[in-house]
Structures are given as C-alpha cells and as structure tokens.
C-alpha cells in the first residue's frame, strides 16, 4: 500500500508507479468495477486548510474525514447543503468517508433536487494526474469562469482522471427549523404527482421522497421544508393545503424525527438489512413509476421527486435487460465483486460520448494506471 502524507509525496508516488493504482479514501464506497492494482491511500492528506464562514468557503485536503468537515461547519452554524450520502449502512462498509471521495463520486443527498449536487458546490480542486503532475483548476471564490471547468470534470470521475489532493467547496448557512409534510398510502404514480405538485410550488421544497414500503410496510411520501421558524410553519400549512387532495396529510415538526427520516432517505436505510443487489437510477421524474414497474424490484425508494430511484433486486439480476432503452442512467451500487466484474456497473454511453470519455482518460492518464476500468 502507498500512503502519501503530502501532495508532493502523492505526485511522486503516481509518477513512480509501475502499474495500476487502486485509489482509496475512507474505503466506504466500493462502487464500480473491481480494480486490480496497488492501493493508494489518500487519507494521509488530511485537514481543513481554509474556512471562512463569512465567505461561505471551505478548503480541505482530500483525505479529510467528512465528519471533521461537518463538525467545523456546525460550529459556525453552517453545513454542506448537498448533504452527501453515507454509504456505510447500505454497503456494509466501515471506516470514515473522506471529503475528496465525496467529490470524486459526486455524492449528493435529497437536497440535490433543490440546491444542487456536490459538483454544484465545488469551487476548485487540486489533483495529481496520471503522469504525476500536480494540477489545479478553479479556486476558492464563488464565481470563476477562468478557463475550462476541469473541477466539474473531476467531480464524478472517481479517480480515473486524477487523484484529488484538495477540494474547495461553497457551504451554506444551516437552517433554524425544518418540517416534513407526510402523505400515507399513495401509489407510485400518485406519489410522483404529489411530489411534482410540491416541487412546482413556490415553497422551496428541499426534499421529496417516496418509500414504497414505509416504516410499517405502508407507502409513505415525504416532503421537506426548511428555513426560519415562522417560515417553516407557514410553508407546512400551505403544503398541507396544496397536497390535501392526494391523501391524508400530516406534518412532522419534531426536529429529531424530521432529521432521522431524511437521513434514512439519504442513506437508503430501507435496504440496509435486506439482501440483494441495489441499483440507482437517474430519470425524468414522470417516467420513474413506469420504469420502476418493469424492473420487478423487491424494494423501491424514490428521491428527488421521482428523479432518483433506488431499486432492490435479486442478486445477479440483469437489470439492464429489464430496463431496456430509457432516458437517464442506471448504476449498480451494491453487488458482489463477481457481479460487478461481470456487469456494466455504469450506464453504457453511446459511441460518440464513449469516444470523448476515453479520449479524455487518455489525456489525463496516458498510462491507464488510475483506477483502470472502474467506470467501464
């Protein structure tokens, strides 16, 4: 295992590598095709290097644990607004998720539907490319269009274009209050219609999810609002009125229960203790129920108003065959190593896009040593 402690050491290690490298942060997200190669552990690059609450900016080395970032933010009444998912419960992993890996996999949570994804909060990166060259892009300021946006390209590239050494993020104020507006018993189509109504309202819904088999096995639709105390009370009432036609509506105001409910959606808690493969689909919300119906799933959780679908299917199930052609993309998030090796974990791209992607990989990693094959 290679475990650099500084960016310079990281660069040296990559430059000196004789073969493929398997890049790891906290090791909590083994998503993608299994990679054969020497482990390159980046947790040694650790620590918040700049935090300016008045400028809503935080810069941290890639190996900094997410908990450390969140604690620093909480101390100033701020947060990572894209609420990154914690994969440990779903994937049965342990260890501490790192901020660099959150960026590398563009990990976001339920609030993505309103405020944007991890990549939308990324202000800049430093990374080491496959040649071992230290590169930077973007910076620490909130608006920056100087040159190509390689920072966004790095977000979601899962270590296949470069090894992140430092990330710079926009943070937001935490909220004083929150509430969940809940509707029970809806069909998949009904739930998507209710979530669509909520998201199309002026009340800035920051979460819209539907658990096809809620806490007691009955369907549960959840709409989240956040803000100042009076604002949340007002919006909850408005939404209760707006959604009244869909079913029985009630409002949960207990902060602990609201937080726990959304942490459960974020981390896909309904599938934690159940066996089977887990797929993640990004689709047009109105098409979600139809697509889900042809998957024969054993478990279903909709987030992002239907735009994100979590599916639990039997182990080894060839879901792509069932999905057929659809607008969006599907990722096999949880499966045995053998199943991940055998299947296309990420959505296959049409020819011209695949050519561009592999062209980019060749430029950033000409020797093909950074997580080779992980993204297919």
């Amino acid at each position: 295992m290679i475990a650099p402690r500084t960016e310079a050491e990281l660069a040296e290690a990559v430059a000196a590598a004789a073969g493929p490298l398997r890049i790891a942060g906290g090791g909590t997200r083994p998503v993608g095709k299994p990679v054969a190669g020497e482990a390159l552990q980046v947790t040694g690059l650790n620590g918040i290097t700049l935090y300016e609450p008045g400028a809503l900016t935080l810069v941290a080395r890639a190996g900094t644990p997410v908990v450390e970032v969140e604690a620093a933010l909480a101390a100033e009444g701020q947060r990572l607004a894209f609420e990154p998912m914690d994969h440990r419960g779903l994937l049965g992993t342990s260890g501490a998720p790192t901020i660099g890996a959150v960026v590398a996999a563009n990990v976001s949570g339920p609030r993505r539907v309103q405020v944007g994804a991890c990549r939308d909060f990324l202000l800049g990166v430093r990374f080491v490319d496959g040649r071992g060259t230290v590169l930077k892009n973007g910076g620490r300021v909130m608006k920056n269009v100087t040159g190509y946006d390689l920072a966004r390209l790095m977000a979601g590239s899962r270590g296949t274009l470069g090894v992140l050494s430092e990330v710079s993020l926009k943070v937001l104020p935490d909220v004083a209050a929150s509430a969940s507006v809940l509707i029970g018993g809806l069909s998949h189509e009904g739930a998507v219609r209710a979530m669509t109504a909520a998201l199309g309202s002026p009340f800035e819904v920051t979460g819209a999810a539907h658990d096809a088999a809620g806490p007691d096995g009955a369907p549960m639709t959840m709409i989240r609002i956040e803000g100042f105390e009076a604002q949340v009370a007002y919006r909850a009432e408005k939404l209760r009125g707006l959604l009244g036609g869909f079913g029985e509506v009630w409002v949960e105001r207990d902060p602990a229960l609201v937080a726990a409910g959304w942490a459960g959606v974020r981390d896909v808690a309904p599938f934690h203790d159940r066996g089977g493969d887990v797929w993640r689909l990004s689709v047009k919300p109105s098409e979600a129920p139809g697509i889900a119906a042809r998957c024969g799933a054993e478990g279903l959780l909709y987030d992002w108003g239907g735009g994100l679908v979590w599916l639990l299917v039997a182990e080894g199930c060839d879901l792509r065959a069932r999905l057929g052609d659809f607008a969006g993309h599907a990722t096999l998030v949880r499966a045995s190593e053998a199943a991940r090796a055998a299947q296309q974990v990420f959505q296959p791209e049409p020819g011209p896009l695949a050519a561009i992607s592999s062209g980019l990989r060749e430029k950033f990693d000409p020797r093909g040593i950074l997580n080779p094959g992980l993204m297919g």
């Binding site: 300016e52 008045g54 400028a55 900016t57 100033e76 009444g77 993505r112 994804a117 990549r119 060259t133 230290v134 590169l135 930077k136 892009n137 910076g139 300021v141 909130m142 608006k143 920056n144 269009v145 100087t146 040159g147 190509y148 946006d149 390689l150 966004r152 390209l153 977000a155 979601g156 274009l161 104020p173 909220v175 004083a176 199309g200 309202s201 002026p202 803000g227 100042f228 009076a230 604002q231 007002y234 047009k284 919300p285 109105s286 992002w304 735009g307 994100l308 607008a327 969006g328 990722t331 990420f346 959505q347 049409p350 011209p352 896009l353 561009i356 992607s357 062209g359 430029k363 993204m375």
Partner: protein, 479 residues
Amino acid sequence: MEMPVPNGDVIASKARIVARLRGVLAADAVIEDATETRAYECDALTAYRCPPLAVVLPGSTAEVAAVLRICHQEAVPVVPRGAGTSLAGGALPTADAVVLGVARMNAVLETDYDNRFIRVETGRTNLSVTGAVEEHDFFFAPDPSSQLACAIAGNIAMNSGGAHCLKYGVTTNNLLGVTMVTMAGEVVEIGGAHLDAGGLDLLGLICGSEGQLGVVTEATLRILRKPEGARPVLMGYDSAEVAGQVVSDIIRAGVLPVAIEFMDRPCIRATEAFARAGYPDCEALLIVEVEGSPAEIDEQLGVILQIARRHDPVELRQAADEDEAARIWLGRKSAFGAMGNINDYMCLDGTIPVDKLPYVLKRIGEMSREFGLDVANVFHAGDGNMHPLILFDANKEGDLEICEAFGAEILKLCVEVGGCLTGEHGVGVEKRDLMGDQYAPEDLEAQMRVKDVFDPAWLLNPAKVFPLAASRQRRAVAA
C-alpha cells in the same frame, strides 16, 4: 491585441468555400459581402474588430453539422456566435474565419412543468426563455444584465451569471443537457431531462468552454417556480470596509439573500446624474434582496436591517411597494448605461474572496490615480464578483492602451488576493494573455489537451482563452 496571422490559403479559397456553404444552406443564410460581414466584426468588446471571411446563419442542427463538416474539410477556423454581447471578445472573428451564428435557431422545443425543464434552440435569448414559461409562474434563474439581448448559446459558452446567482447559481448549475455539434460535424447529445451525468461530467466541461469544444445548438434548462414575492432594501455607508463587514455579517447570520449588490461613490454619482434614482451620496451602497411571502420577507429583512443598523448606515431604505422596489433597483440597473453616457469604458470581471473587498477597492483607487483613469465599481458583493468600470476616451491616442494596462493590473490583483481573472464574462481574447498569472503552464496544458480531444485540428475559436504563445504550436499544426 495580437491575433494570429490569417491563413492565406483559406482566404484565397474564399470563393470555393462560400460556394460549398451555399450548397448546404438557404441563400440568405450565407453572408460574404464585405459591407454585410462588417456587422459581425466584433462583439460587445468593441475595441477589437475584424470582419470575418464569411458569416453563416444555419436554421437547424443538421445545417450546423453540414457547415462544420465543410469547414473541417477546408481547414477553416469557425467562430461560434450567439447574440454577440460577449464583453471578453469571445466572438471576435479573424479574417480567415467563418462566423457561425445561431441567432435564427430560437425555437422552444419542449416545455415540461411537471419535470421542471424547457428545451430550446440556443439562439433564443435568455429573457425569452423565462418569457416562455412565465405564464405558469416559472422562470429560468441565470439573469445576466444583458438578458434582453444575449442568447442561451453564449450563456452556456461563458457559463454566465447574474444578480440572483448568489441563491440560484450560474448557468452550469441550471443546465441539464445539450445537443452539440463537434468540429468534425458529429452531433452528440449530453445529459437530458434527468439530473447529473452517468459517466464523466461532460456537460460541466462544455459549459464555460467558450465555443472551443463544439457548437451547442439545443439546450435543456432547469426552470423553477417563482417565489411568492421579493423585496429589496438599500443601505448606504461611509466606508467600503463597513459595507464589506455588513455583507459578511448578513451571510453569517444565516440569511441567504437572492442578491447583494454593491456600488461605490463614483458609480453612485454617475448613475444619479443619469437615472436619478435618489441614491444617497456615500462611499458604498448596498442593495440586498430577499424572497418569499410578505411575512417571510419581513422576518428575513428584520434580521438584515438589524445588522445594517448596527453599522451606522448613512441611509437605510425599505421598499414599501413595487414602485419603491423598482426605484431601488433603477440606479443599479442603469449603471452600465450611465457609464456609457459619460465615456467609453472597459468592464472588468475579476472575483475576489469577499473579505478582501476593502483592500482591493483601496488598491484600485490608488492605481486609478497612478494610471490617470477614473474607475467606478459596481458588483455582486455576496460572491465577490467585481465589475470595475474603467473610463477612457477611445478617440484619444494611447488611452485604450493605458486602460488595458490598468485593467490587467486590477485582474492580477484579484488573482494575488486569492481570486480569479473572470467570474462570469469569460476569458475570450481580453484575458487570454493573463492566464499565465492564474495558472501554471502545466495547468494550461491540461486544459489544452481537453481541446485536443474535441477539436484535434484546433479550428473552433482557436485564438481565445489560451495565451497565443501557449497555443501557437497546436494552431500551427492545424494551419
């Protein structure tokens, strides 16, 4: 401003190239007459001009592809153009280039309120995208001041922002998909109505690539439901330092306004003379706007006004109704017009960390005296995106050069304090030769390698973004 020497072979082949273009486009869609190509000799950075070889105005993605295939075969540089409002010279042609304008492609292809998106051809203007969904109380969030004129094509190419991006983000945060034609004439679809990319974030890469990676012909844009209402407050302070502190305190208090705009005294005076918005004559003026229902607005403004009062404002003005709100915005919105009324001006666009504001303003004041040119500052204070307007006289020998040198110094200062050369206008030709101040040679090399993937012959908008010296070899191979 140095531009590459035009390719003589291309210019000599003009007749053949034009004939081939005429073969794939409607008769009125190919412009080659020197009196008519002149209309395309510059964008809003009017200091630099050069009529192109020819101009094409295709009407469909297929026509764009046909044009690009021909230009690719003939090794003709292509300069994509939206509405030509770039302030960075992004759409500036060279004498051997074909300008490819998408202005005729302005249709709305699909509106979907349930899935909250609109798909348009990219020649459509920014404001008319919102115009198309307004009756359903939806809007497209990025709102550059030029929104009446600028096209979605340019917004995507420059990753444009606006006054309200503190809350809603810039173009890249509101773009879901594009149809793009590569220089070789291949049509690619990236993204769609769903959120986030499956593979690499190519959409994020395309946005802000200044027309160098492909010609974007269609776009899927996120639309949002309008808030119940919005209301601005105006506050005046005796020093930029204090105003900067107010901005930081507001942000720290947990309120997230949709806009925090800043104007300094020279800018206030100029706009007062022009628009008479009734602004106080003070060192620094802030306009802060929040959104929501009337009660929600009251609650947020309560917090903001409390902070504002703590810092001894010389003026604090709330808008009681729509009229007063419009008056508060009036001066800010006419700032550019007011400047244009006084003199020629160059509008800069650096971004700085918010806490460096007072220092940077002080330095700009000092430099203004050194260079002997006046500057007015107006900018998006919440995110540190500055727009110093340097006033000069284009008819006065040497004034433009002094202005350019002064502008370069200001941008270097932005980089020096931890910021960047451009927050929303793009690099174009204007900041091209300063890129080395922000990026190391290997950083630029990495970016140029990206262009190699999309446009190996370096024919698309080749003389922009990268210092000419840095891109010389690649462009030479192409020629």
